[in-house]
């Protein structure tokens, strides 16, 4: 397993200790580690160079705040810069057009275009209630058209037939015509995989684009793509006015440096990610989560440490210890957690610092989402006896009434709190079993997978 950036920086952070600010001298090693980690994550060299230069500039210009060591501040700068490069928010598909809204897919061979067409059709049907038709202009790869036909059947999209002896431009024209007449709302056009240096094939897709005038032109790339990502992305971006990127095979263990390269070169938003081979394995892309993945997501504590000066470190460490041991998470801890979240600016702030999949789970827990609520939660817990706090199972109907009266709330609210607590406790247990023993990221990934039904939410 490749060492991740967090580990690498962890080592350097130690040597940076005791210095008051970030200087050319004390961030030199750290910058080298960033460079290595990004290269190991397959970020393309020119992109790495630019990135390191930007981090250096930012770091030197920035003071070290509060209780942070220069090392911690440095990691903060890196994470921030990564997030900035990945783009701020999720960018949805733009399909508001006189139907049919046409989506053109483009990419290298084996990137996952055809599967993505199926997934996208399914996603649009399910989430936007669209009537979707698909067509294949891949007249080259054997059985490519067949493959799309099967996929379309599986997701219940209309399939416009084509055959290898037709010309891609003719297929496309006929499909648009049909879609218009039959009131299909979205038409997704699959194309053959092609190399960026294959001029004839690049000309072909350019012509397809000109004829179709699609509202979305999506560049499909394999998350495992290596250094060539910059060249390929550049060529596709120059040939076609891309509107977005789909990153596939993210359920593998690639660090996904290609995401950074493609984004840096094209400036286009990554709109979706493929997270499973099955046709429901497509999800909107969240840039900040990708930043965390590339940064390395093994060590919650170091991320929290690095990125938030407001957290009480001792408390965070104690919490991590509890999480690790996987037991003894009681209402006292729950109260502390809620209080701590308040300090840190609520759940959302914490979630940014958690590895993506835990953040997803945490998002489902309503606790502490706003100040008033978290104060109420604390009030309720404060009305409990010490015994009740350590053994919540004691709290039956009559005790609930007493607690509610004590805190000046309705009994339902006590119930709701206990529910939230139970959910959190369950999650903590799962964290715990994931952290037990060594094994690090892979193990955590697997654990998280079974925890979220095979879906990796980022």
């Amino acid at each position: 397993m490749l060492e991740n950036l967090t580990q690498r920086l962890g080592r350097v952070m130690k040597t940076m200790r005791g210095e008051a600010r970030m200087t050319e001298a004390n961030i030199g090693d750290a910058l080298r580690e960033v460079r290595m980690a990004l290269l190991e994550a397959d970020v393309s060299l020119p992109v790495v160079k630019d990135f390191v230069a930007q981090v250096k500039e930012k770091a030197l210009g920035e003071g070290v705040v509060g209780s942070l060591t220069p090392g911690q501040a440095f990691v903060g700068v890196v994470h921030e810069q990564l997030k900035q490069l990945m783009g701020e928010a999720q960018v949805p598909l733009a399909l508001n057009q006189q139907p049919p809204a046409i989506i053109l897919m483009a990419g290298l061979q084996g990137a996952g275009k055809t599967t993505t067409v199926g997934k996208l059709a399914r996603w649009l049907k399910q989430n936007q209630k669209k009537k979707v038709m698909v067509v294949s202009c891949d007249v080259y790869r054997p059985a490519a058209i067949d493959q799309l036909k099967h996929v379309a059947e599986q997701v219940g999209a209309s399939f416009f037939p084509s055959s290898p002896d037709q010309k891609p431009l003719d297929i496309a024209a006929a499909a648009v015509d049909w879609a218009r007449k039959h009131h299909e709302e979205v038409l997704i056009v699959d194309t053959a995989g092609r190399l960026a240096i294959d001029q004839a094939m690049m000309d072909e897709i350019k012509a397809l684009h000109a004829q179709l005038d699609p509202i979305e032109t999506l560049f499909v790339v394999d998350a495992m793509l290596g250094q060539d990502a910059v060249n390929t992305a550049k060529a596709f971006n120059e040939t076609l006015p891309l509107t977005g990127v789909v990153l596939t095979k993210l359920d593998g263990d690639a660090r996904g440096g290609a995401a950074l390269s493609v984004r840096a070169v094209t400036g286009k938003p990554i709109k979706f990610v493929g997270v499973a081979e099955k046709l429901d394995g497509l999800e909107p892309f969240y840039p900040d989560r990708m930043a965390s993945r590339i940064l390395g997501m093994g060590d919650i504590l170091s991320l929290v440490e690095a990125a938030s000066q407001q957290v009480d470190m001792d408390q965070a460490a104690a919490m991590a210890q509890k999480i690790k041991s996987g037991k003894g998470f009681d209402l006292n801890d729950f109260r502390a957690q809620v209080a701590q979240m308040r300090q840190m600016g609520g759940m959302t702030a914490l979630m940014d610092k958690l590895p993506a999949k835990f953040a997803e789970a945490a998002a489902n827990m309503p606790a502490g989402s706003d100040d008033k609520m978290s104060r109420r939660i604390q009030g309720i817990i404060d009305s409990m006896t010490p015994d009740e706090r350590t053994k919540p199972e004691l709290i039956k109907a009559s005790r609930k009434r007493r607690i509610a009266t004590g805190a000046g709330v309705q009994v339902q609210e006590v119930n709701r709190l206990l529910n939230q607590f139970e959910q959190t406790q369950k999650m903590m247990k799962q964290f715990g079993s994931m952290f037990k023993g060594k094994g690090g990221m892979m193990k955590m990934m697997r654990g998280a997978k079974s925890m979220f039904g095979g879906k990796l939410p980022f």
Partner: protein, 313 residues
């Protein structure tokens, strides 16, 4: 990919590798030749070389080793001309890759076909490589049988059948069904018909998908049940455009099914497949073939020196 009909006369794979590489180099700015033109091994040259190797997916570790190797050779042999430095760099890389150069020997035991199974991640080029291999072996005078062991992906069977038709080779397939069973049948059919080589396709899978890794381990075991000496070759197909993740793929598939050879595909593009140098360092396996296109003849045996020369101009 171009239509075969309006293609210019086919070039050798080195020519095609070169074509791709030159293109990339122009984009990077300046050819390798100007890089070496300095005529001395100084920091600037080493830095440029480092960039070249890293940009070819050689990876940090192998790049450091190669650069150090060149530095030492340059000192010992007092290299002062562009040609000698460039030649030395090619030597460094070729020496590193040399252990991977071991062509596949087809030697079926008496009474058994030579069974080759392929494995790899989704879209690596497994099925296409099998189509090319069928052609390659037939041209060498062997009889061949294809087994449609990808029973998962839509139209995977039809895809292999198309390659079967192109080569006039029988494809053993089942409607749906279990991959192990299909390949088991194919091995038996080949035995019964006295066929020389069985080429077994499998569905693409990522090493993180534990159940699928278990499944392919089972496929391998079932092949051994059909013929105790088989499989005789376990080919892992690597996508040449993939970066450092290829190393993890070699390790994971090796653990699951005991990889005996590699095929690296898509080297007709601008990707250079330098990850082979990292593989040579970390988890060496013989590279049996290189894929340089989508046509049936676009498969070449691996030569460490030719590869090094193509990568370093």
């Amino acid at each position: 990919m171009s239509d075969a009909t309006d293609n210019p006369p086919r070039r050798s794979w080195r020519e095609r590798l070169f074509a791709g590489l030159t293109k990339t180099r122009q984009q990077i700015g300046g050819s390798v030749r100007t890089l070496f033109a300095r005529g001395q091994v100084d920091d600037e040259l080493l830095e440029d070389l480092e960039a070249l190797l890293l940009s070819a997916d050689v990876g940090v570790e192998a790049t450091v080793i190669l650069i150090e190797d060149l530095r030492q050779r340059a000192r010992k042999q007092n290299l002062q001309t562009p040609e000698s430095i460039q030649a030395a760099m090619v030597d460094c890389l070729a020496d590193l890759l040399k252990p991977l150069e071991a062509p596949l020997q087809i030697a079926p035991p008496p009474g058994s076909p030579f069974v080759i199974m392929v494995a790899g991640i989704n879209g690596a080029g497994k099925t296409t490589t099998l189509g090319k291999l069928a052609h390659h072996f037939q041209a060498a005078g062997h009889s061949v049988l294809l087994a449609a062991g990808d029973t998962f992906r839509a139209a995977a069977r039809e895809q292999l059948q198309a390659w079967g038709e192109r080569n006039n080779v029988t494809v053993i397939a089942q409607e749906g069904g279990d991959p192990s069973a299909v390949i088991f049948d194919a091995v038996h059919a080949a035995k019964a018909r006295g066929i020389d080589i069985v080429l077994a396709d499998t569905a693409g899978r990522l090493p993180t998908q534990m159940h699928l890794m278990d499944e392919i381990a089972k496929i391998r075991r079932v092949i051994t049940k059909a013929e105790t000496t088989a499989p005789h070759e376990v080919l892992l197909v690597l996508d040449g455009t993939i970066g450092q993740n290829a190393i993890g793929q070699v390790k994971a598939f090796d653990k699951a099914i005991g990889v005996t050879g590699l095929v690296i595909t898509k080297l007709d593009g601008s990707a250079k497949g330098g990850v082979l140098a990292a593989i040579a360092k970390q988890c060496p396996k013989p590279v049996r073939y290189v894929g340089v296109g989508e046509q049936v003849e676009d498969l070449q045996p691996f030569s460490a020196r030719a590869f090094a020369e193509a990568l370093l101009g």
